[in-house]
């Protein structure tokens, strides 16, 4: 026992050091501000998104968390009055640079929405659509391969493998959401943004999506907006708390939910917000 101790202690320390050096910054927000017309919705947000980690964005309604999320793949471009200031980088590359192809950016930074929104097409086509427009599959067999592996990664393959030609809209809510995740995965994104992905799902479907998020973390970087404090505590490694358009506090999830530094964070997560 005692002989082991020193060795295992050394290993443990080594593991910890490795874990630290592995914390690569995948995306970085630098003084990000967002205006809708004259109204400023986000102020000077500096936030790092770490590689292969789940970052949860929390805060009361209207705090700017979804606004920030939508900046990460330039979804705010689709709103005419929206204007983004500051700098956001993906692998140290400015995603608002005019040479960036937004379509390609959104393939690298995929998104899953609050309400499952499958296309009114077959399950197969829902997943194949993205790879097809991005020209990721040359042959039918390649496409079959992509569809199968995406559905498998989204943990829904076993439930739909015998009915790939049926409409995606015929699935249950939880299945539809996992289909949407499969659709997002199909174009091999590096980052997946999730905007309250479970708020329209029942507890069992929620548990499955949460389990999936944890598995996906091995290969993808995930940013999730959630109103469920418990969900943020369960699925994320880092948590960022927003309030009135400002980033209040960001830190390791374990600490944020047991001993946050900021009073506003504490009041919000304990249910004391006015």
């Amino acid at each position: 026992m005692n002989i082991m101790t020193e060795q295992s202690l050394e290993n443990a320390v080594g593991d910890k050091m490795n874990a630290k050096s592995n914390e690569v910054i995948k995306m970085r927000g630098d003084k990000v501000g967002v205006f809708y017309g004259d109204k400023q919705a986000l102020f000077d947000v500096n936030l790092d998104v770490r590689l292969n980690q789940v970052t949860a964005l929390i805060g009361p309604s209207g705090c700017g968390k979804s606004t920030f999320l939508r900046c990460l793949n330039r979804m705010n471009d689709t709103i005419d009055s929206a204007r983004v200031t500051g700098k956001i980088t993906l692998d140290e590359e400015d995603i608002y640079d005019k040479n960036i192809d937004v379509v390609e950016l959104r393939a690298r930074v995929g998104m899953v929405f609050q309400k499952p929104n499958p296309f009114p097409k077959s399950i197969y086509e829902n997943v194949a659509y993205g790879p097809r427009i991005h020209g990721l599959a040359k042959r039918k067999t390649d496409m079959d391969q992509i569809v199968e592996s995406s559905l498998k990664k989204a943990a829904i393959w076993n439930e739909v493998k015998d009915r790939l030609q049926e409409p995606g809209t015929g699935l249950s809510g939880g299945q539809q959401q996992r289909l949407c995740i499969a659709r997002a995965i199909a174009v091999s994104p590096e980052v997946i943004l999730m905007d309250e992905p479970c708020s329209a799902l029942d507890p069992i479907a929620t548990a499955r999506v949460e389990e999936l998020i944890d598995e996906l973390r091995q290969n993808y970087t995930i940013v999730i907006v959630t109103h469920s404090m418990q969900q943020a505590a369960r699925v994320s490694q880092r948590t960022a708390m927003f309030h009135l358009g400002y980033l209040v506090e960001e830190g390791a999830t374990d600490k944020m939910f047991t001993n946050p530094d900021d009073k506003r964070t504490q009041d919000y997560i304990t249910g004391r917000f006015g």
Binding site: F257, T258, N259, Q266, I269, G271
Partner: protein
Amino acid sequence: MGEHHTVASFDEDLGAISKLISDMGELAGSMVGGATKALLNSDNALAQRVVSDDAIMDARQRELDDRAITLIAKRQPMANDLRAVVGSIRMAGDLERIGDLAKNIAKRVGTVGLSVTPRDLSHSIDVMAQLVLVQVQGVIEEYAAADAAALAKLRNDDERIDVKYTSVFRELLTYMMEDPRNITACTHLLFCAKNLERIGDHVTNIAENAYYVLTGSQLPANRPKQDETAMSAPAA
């Protein structure tokens, strides 16, 4: 806890738990005080009261457990609330053990009283009991006052009890060697002293828990320890 929860009944649930802790703390103080007083005065009636108080202590602990578990299931407390609830469960465990130890002292009152108990023999125990009582009452007061610094100090003060226990141990040993007729009484008193020392340890646990509940960080693991009897006990 400063501001109120949006859901008012959440505050009530937390308040009920914190009330139980202070009730149990008060009861623990009265049991420890009663047990040592009964011991020193050979007061059998008082000893009986302490023994029956232990049933109340146990019932309070069960009630606290129920309330805490229900609160966690219903409200999923976070941050300081979570620490308060989990901390209360643990503090209640220590308070319940303090009750058991006080009861154990009270149960010896009859036995010690029957044998010859020279007054000076129990004087040191009296001093030790006073130290313990101050600790038991202090820990509950400082927790209620949310004074983390005082709790950290109080935890270190346990050292004084340990030092006193060591000297009581040696003293009783000396009495036994001087006159074997003292052995029965001294052995009982030794158990009493050991129980008091254990109560001090539980107070230390409570202080550590309370400190964590209030601050969210743990006190350093190392605390000065002075119980030398464990090392030098059967020296003969």
